[in-house]
Amino acid sequence: MCDIYLVDDDQDVLDSLSWMLDGLGLKTQGFLNAATFLSAVDITRPGIAILDIQMPDMDGIALLHHIKAAASPLSVIMLTGHGTITMAVQAIQQGAIDFLEKPVDGDKLSLLLARAKEISLQSFDELRLQTEIDHRVASLTPREHEVMLKVLEGKQNKVIAAELNIAQRTIELHRQKVMQKMQVSNAAELAYLMAKSEE
């Protein structure tokens, strides 16, 4: 499930694009400007936004900037009547997955949409995982967090015990708690999880 949002200030163009995509079996939601889009759509959900660049108030580039600044998993495709190279470079740099000239060919667009969907879902998963990991890490007590960092450094329990000046038994208990809270079964899995979150 991945929503497609169209933002264009020209109602006719909006409708016709929507109708074409409908023909491809793709459901879309249309918005006449950035403000209505932002107020109606939860941008923390995966989805695809096809944005016209030339719009009153907040234009396409500004909206793209807003979406990316909010760490949204939305894939953004820029669409413009007449693009310049400067605009294209700017859009790609800001994180749009493509920059297309109007009117875009339906076949080409459907391929791009498939890719965009994948990217969006993936980044949504990554974001979710990241959030999850952040949650798990946050649930650790300071002492457990300390022990976890030592474990990640690959140190054995007795070394950690010596360094932190605590009984080895206590370390073992802390370690068990960390594995439990981080939902991993061993140190290797923990390292993998943390490495992923740091990407």
């Binding site: 006719d12 016709s16 109708w19 074409m20 023909g23 491809l24 009153p56 007449h82 400067t86 339906g106």
Partner: protein, 581 residues
């Protein structure tokens, strides 16, 4: 040379006398050679020296010298002719002590006259005839020789300097003049009376070769004379001379008789009491009326300060004239260079304006093309989407429609590529170069000066120097558009105010233009940068679009916000050190 020697010897003798008294100085009017004059008078004063116990030095002086010595009180006594004496009496308070009774005559009142001497063959009946003749005389200051006759001529309204055909002064001795007449080098000689008689007595000229013309009958006078008679030499004391001393000298002089050797060498008979000098005064007045015989040197001396003053004034005037002339030249040069510069500036301005309008035209054409392209592009896009949407909905049985719809799409694509080419054709390539924004703003204001003048508005500027890489003519378009919009918004404003700021902020050049105009409605503000949106009657609605496009092409941003009164436009351009692609 001789005179100097005499002076030295007299000085020496004064030292030799060794009684410590300064020698008394006697100035003697001298025309002839000084030693002759010295020899004539020295015996007389040797005798006076003996009698009085004072020492004397006799100084033969030319009329000029004599006057200078008298003026500076360098003398104690003077011996001069009647005219000199009365002149000094008048000018320097010299007092006449004694008159000289010369040889031949016993009446000191009538001792000297002038004689006009010519060859016996020439007949002169009338004094006017002289003007056609060649006349010689010894010196214009000589009393008997020239001045007495000049007085006679003056009473006949004749100016010898102007009216005589030829008048020559040949100097001394006086016998030389007789020879000039004899040798026919001159027709008439003006000489003191008795010169001719004395020359004949000495056998220097034949007795009948020369004659005195225009003779006057004078009783008891031995020589022929052509003029009235005047007193001869006079002995005078200067104002400062002690009267006791003067009395001693006078006593001593009065004792001299015509038999004494001093009188013989002095060519006189004796000294007498001062004579009536009324006639001499009259002669002086006559002569003074005639500039040719005025005492030039005296007048000159009096006039010298004035002449110098006048010269200085003239010089100053001339200098002033030069200075003014120089100033005029300088000012003219400055003016012409100013004018030249002005013309150049005007030409430059005109050129700039031309460039500006050309750029504007190109931009407008491009923007219009762009706007039209956009307006056409939107429906074309709609058509293409709809057509392709239809294609996606076709069932396999509707194959016929498939190709028709595909052709429709091809037509749309064709139309679109035409539009695209058209737009590309109208776009002009930008020229990026180093651009001093402060200069550019000032230049732009200069370009728009007439409009500011018309509105009686001078913008409040606060400009930092910011330099970046930009297309100068494009940025200028932005500035002109924004400023003109601001001016238009304040058209009906009584107190229009325009502020332009240029600051560097966070690696961006920020230009802020604030006006006090009517501002924009919220709706107009949101569509400010859209083509064909205009609040102006004759506007095309492309100005702000062009601005936005140019600013964005430079990687910058443009914003507009309403102020309480007026509008504030902020243009921010990234500062680039060098041009990137």
């Amino acid at each position: 040379m001789k005179r100097i020697l005499l002076l030295i010897t007299s000085l020496l003798s004064c030292f030799a006398s060794a009684d410590g008294n300064e020698p008394l100085r006697i100035g003697v009017l001298s025309f002839a050679s000084p030693d002759t004059v010295y020899q004539r008078w020295a015996p007389t004063f040797d005798r006076v020296a003996e009698n009085t116990g004072h020492t004397f030095s006799v100084l033969p002086l030319t009329p000029g010298e004599l006057q200078e010595f008298v003026a500076n009180d360098k003398l104690d006594f003077i011996i001069g002719n009647a005219l000199t004496t009365v002149t000094f009496k008048k000018d320097y308070g010299v007092s006449n002590l004694l008159s000289l009774v010369p040889n031949y005559h016993s009446d000191p009142d009538h001792a000297v006259g002038s004689a006009l001497i010519t060859r016996s063959s020439l007949n002169i009946e009338d004094i006017g005839q002289l003007s056609t003749m060649s006349v010689v005389s010894s010196d214009p200051n000589a009393f008997g020789g020239f001045q007495i006759l000049a007085g006679e001529l003056a009473s006949h309204s004749i100016n010898p300097f102007k009216d005589f055909k030829k008048l020559t002064f040949v100097g001394f001795p006086q016998d030389k003049l007789l020879n000039l007449v004899l040798d026919k080098k001159a027709d008439v000689a003006i000489l003191p009376s008795c010169v001719l008689e004395s020359a004949i007595k000495k056998g220097l000229v034949p007795e009948t070769a020369l004659k005195v013309v225009l003779q006057k009958e004078v009783p008891n006078y031995e020589c022929a004379v052509s003029s009235s008679l005047y007193p001869s030499y006079a002995f005078s004391k200067l104002g400062h001379t002690d009267h006791v001393l003067a009395t001693q000298v006078v006593k001593s002089l009065l004792k001299i008789t015509n038999k004494d050797k001093e009188a013989i060498s002095g060519r006189y008979q004796y000294w007498s009491a001062p004579v009536n000098d009324r006639e001499v005064f009259r002669l002086l007045r006559t002569l003074n009326r005639w500039p040719f015989v005025t005492n030039w040197e005296f007048l000159l001396k009096g006039a010298v300060p004035w002449v110098i003053g006048a010269l200085i004034l003239l010089l100053l005037g001339y200098l002033h004239h030069l200075r003014v002339k120089r100033l005029v030249v300088l000012r003219t040069r400055a003016l012409s260079s100013e004018m030249e510069q002005h013309q150049r500036t005007q030409k430059e301005l005109f050129e700039q304006q031309k460039q500006f309008y050309k750029a504007q035209r190109v931009l407008l054409t491009g923007e219009m093309a762009s706007g039209i392209a956009h307006e056409l592009n939107q429906p074309l896009a709609g058509i293409r989407y709809l057509t392709q949407g239809c294609l996606y909905r076709l069932t396999p049985e509707q194959g016929e429609l498939n190709s028709a719809l595909n052709k429709a799409i091809e037509q749309v694509d064709r139309a679109q590529s035409t539009i695209k080419r058209f737009r590309q054709f109208c776009q002009q390539p930008s020229v990026y170069e180093k651009c001093d924004l402060k200069n550019l703003i000032e230049e732009t204001l200069n370009l728009m000066a007439p409009e500011f003048k018309r509105m009686h508005l001078s913008p409040k500027l606060s400009l930092e120097r910011v330099t970046t890489i930009a297309d100068i003519s494009l940025i200028q378009q932005v500035l002109v558009n924004l400023i003109r919009n601001a001016l238009d918004a304040m058209e009906s404003d009584d107190m229009p105010q325009l502020g332009i700021q240029l600051v560097e902020e966070d690696k961006h050049a920020v230009i802020i233009i604030e006006d006090s105009g009517i501002g924009l409605s919220e709706e107009a503000l949101s569509r400010l940068f859209f083509p064909f949106e205009t609040s102006k009657e004759k506007g095309l609605g492309l100005g702000m679009v062009i601005c936005k496009r140019i600013v964005e092409e430079h990687g910058g941003q443009i914003h507009a916000v309403n102020l309480i009164k007026g509008l504030k436009i902020t243009v921010s351009l990234p500062i680039k050190e060098q041009q990137d692609v």
